[in-house]
Amino acid sequence: MMRDTRKVNTYGFMAYPALPPLFGTNSPGPVGGLSSTTRQTLSNGMVVLVLNNPSSPTVSLCGAVGVGAIHETADRSGLADFTASALIRGTRSRTYQQMITETEARGCSIGADAGNHLSGFYGKALSEDLPLMLEILADMLVHPTFPEPEMEKLRNQMLIDLREYEEDTGMRTTRALRSLLYPPDHPYSRLSFGTIETIQNISRDDMIAFHQHYHPAATSIAIVGDVQPEAVVETLERIFGDWNPPETSLTRTLPDVPPLSGVQRCNMTIPGKVQSDMVMGVHGITRTDPDYYAFLLGNLILGQLGLFGRLGESVREKQGLAYHVSSSLQAGLGAGPWVATAGVNPASVEQAIQAILHEIERFKREGPTSEELSDARAYLTGSMVLVLESNAGLVSTLLDLEIYGLGLDFIERFPDIINRVSREEIIAVARTYLSTEDYVVAVAGPPSSSATCAA
């Protein structure tokens, strides 16, 4: 967790807010495409994906270890993220000061954080500095020492961030939505970076113990740039070869999620705010669910395509209620929610909710038009080249392919997968998941008389 919380417009005011990209980060540069990636398993079980992209003198890296917030207890919520963020704060051979001095002096960046299922790490360097970046990364993953004074400094920074979140309408509504969608014993009922209380309670010993679950056999790493794949694999074998901790079996079966019943709503007030954020949500699916591609297309048409799909057309373009309004399908290793979100004047909250419900209802009844469906297909398949333009886009795509077992030929298969999804399948998925009777809503905004929950 490393954020600069100063939110000031750097370049100016955008016509439309930026949506997170649909694939990995952003934008096929490498000759031969992703299929030419070298994929190898090191002797300790770690999976390595390396791709040569000579178009710029840089290299990007990203990887993941199969541990995350689902492996925490509720009273240690945020432990996975705290542990990942602490890796850079000191190792057997380097202090935090040495870490940041050595990397930043080369314009090289390394970091780590954690989500629900995975702890991720990432880095960027000029190709000439790849050996240093790999050495430091191995040091962080294998030999972190979690030095006490550094842990306290990091904790205090995380606590300030969490205090800021307490007064952030987006964060508060997201947290409330999660607590309404999932039962308390389900890790998705919480946010993965913890709370003020749990971060205060996490000890250095907790982090050392959690780090024991980092295992090479549960780790994948993707590296793309101006590099020689064979040499990179050899280096990784050398620097990670002695990482052979005892096997720890970390299995977590997620509790059942009871279906939603009726409308559950949480209104929160935050002093000093002038706009209300609203989020509505229902239960969704995993990335590997057979319904995934139909849901992906449906969500695209409903709340993203062009300028935020039908929701944008209705709530922003036709009714002028919001600057940002969109929907997202949070399908990962676990079944995350589908959510629609908007920022509106406090007086327009009900109108915005009704407008979103109306569009969902209409979409379930009528489905996409043939023009919308062909536009959505054309967008998904056409924009792949933008996703695969940069090393950062390439590494995150490669890692996704590995994590979800999609295969290195996925990019070639993708157009066919998308073009096979029928209009009927999209309607069926919308009718299955997008209930307008059983759903949850969270609103946070300026003080009024309508506060109904304290989430």
Binding site: D4, P28, N156, E164, G343, D375
Partner: protein
């Protein structure tokens, strides 16, 4: 690294066209820049440039509202627009064989945007919602207050999005007049970067743009900020989660000979930037402010902010005050770091580190055609696109004495505006 050279062409209607071939991915980006921003606005009409930008997404007779976004999506592209103090820009990034679409859109909306009255009304509340979204952030209040105090005669005084009262009073005619004054080939720069052959591309550009009529010369603002006569202070008291600090020092525009030295000063304090003056990777933790404020736990975050501007603008320092400390302590610590440079200068090691960091930031930025075009266009708006190819050398030529001198000359009490955001708790 392949040297990608930018080439310049001017059409008979005085549209400047800048092109750069990059063949590493089958992608192309098309940007059009207009020399107009909040800098060109007068009192009572603040926010007009940004609103006009919004209206360019609301249709022309040939491409009615909603069609543009469908066309770009259908062709696998992304697009957006933004307004700044000094310029307004629009872009589409597309698979390389779809470039005609972008050229068509930009030529069409340069002259033919509808500004339909009912669309203007709907957009009013959209922009007010955008304003309210920013007002939800404590930093916005502090940033607006510091700028308003630092600039008394120059339009950098007001926020780019405009004041609420002006947005409520704006008429369709105000917007349309602004559009007609500034949107014309002789006030625009078209920037294309990506997988194309320049000769073929220029023929396509002529097809779409050559017949657009040039307009009369564009009015140029003459406002200048007078030399500050002493420090200014502003305090914002509002509900908020922490105390925040922002200070600005009036520094020269990007064409001034001291610009590169000020940029190096910014890098010494807060880490080096790319040529768009954003950061592709974090470089601040080994820099002076983080070391002095965050490592000592006075602040939970801190940094400097500086970007090239058409007229003299602010060099900023900011920090989030830690729970057990006061804004005054953090202010003193920030100023102490400035004084250290004024008294003792900077080290060779720092200058070497900064140049390596800038090289890395430039390399990362060049991975995407969109970012390259942004860099080229931004510099042409502010000075000349050639700066993108000489700026690294300018930075390398900066000597230790230059950094110390610009710190002494510009980061003075007299030229400072210091702002505190003091959280008022939850009494509201």
């Amino acid at each position: 690294m392949t040297a990608h050279l930018t080439r310049s062409h001017t059409l008979p209607n005085n549209l400047l066209v800048l092109t750069r071939e990059v063949h590493s991915a089958p992608v192309v980006t098309c940007w059009i820049w207009y020399r107009v921003g909040s800098r060109n606005e007068i009192s009572g009409r603040t926010g007009v440039s940004h609103w006009v930008e919004h209206m360019l997404f609301k249709g022309t007779p040939e491409m009615p509202a909603g069609m543009l976004d469908r066309l770009v999506a259908r062709n696998g592209g992304i697009f957006n627009g933004f307004t700044s103090t000094d310029f307004t820009a629009y872009y589409e990034t597309l698979p390389a064989d779809r470039l005609d679409l972008a050229l068509h859109i930009e030529a069409d909306r340069m002259m033919n945007a509808n500004f339909a009255p009912e669309e203007v009304e709907r957009e009013r509340t959209v922009i007010l919602a955008e304003l309210e979204e920013h007002a939800n952030e404590p930093w916005t209040w502090l940033d607006d207050a510091v700028r308003a105090a630092a600039f008394t005669a120059h339009p950098y005084h007001h926020p780019v999005i405009g004041y609420e009262a002006d947005l409520r009073a704006m008429t369709r005619d105000d917007l349309y007049a602004h559009y007609q004054t500034y949107y014309m080939p002789n006030n625009a720069v078209l920037v294309l970067v990506g997988d194309f052959q320049t000769g073929d591309l220029l023929r396509r550009i002529e097809h779409f743009f050559a017949d657009l009529p040039a307009g009369p010369p564009v009015p140029r603002p003459h406002a200048a900020e007078p030399e500050p006569q002493g420090e200014r202070r502003v305090t914002i008291r509002r509900p908020g989660p922490a105390a925040y600090l922002q200070m600005g020092f009036l520094v020269p525009d990007c064409r001034n000979p001291d610009f590169a030295a000020v940029a190096v000063l910014d890098a010494v304090l807060g880490g080096a930037r790319s040529l768009t003056f954003g950061k592709e990777v974090q470089t601040n933790r080994s820099a002076r402010l983080y070391q002095a404020l965050v490592e000592t736990e006075l602040a939970s975050s801190t940094g400097s902010y500086f970007h090239p501007s058409y007229d003299p603008s602010l060099f900023e320092l900011y920090a989030t005050v830690n729970v057990d400390h006061q804004a005054d302590e953090v202010e003193a610590a920030l100023l102490r770091e400035v004084e250290k440079i004024q008294q003792d200068g900077v080290s060779d090691l720092e200058l070497t580190r900064i140049i390596k960091q800038v090289r890395a930031q430039i390399a990362y930025g060049s991975e995407r055609v969109t970012r390259q075009a942004m860099m080229i266009g931004m510099w042409e708006m502010l000075d000349h696109f050639g700066r993108t190819e000489t700026l690294l050398e300018e930075l390398m030529a900066v000597r230790k004495e230059d950094v110390q001198r610009v710190a002494q000359t510009y980061l003075t009490t007299r030229r400072s505006t210091i702002g505190h955001f003091i959280p008022t708790g939850n009494e509201e």
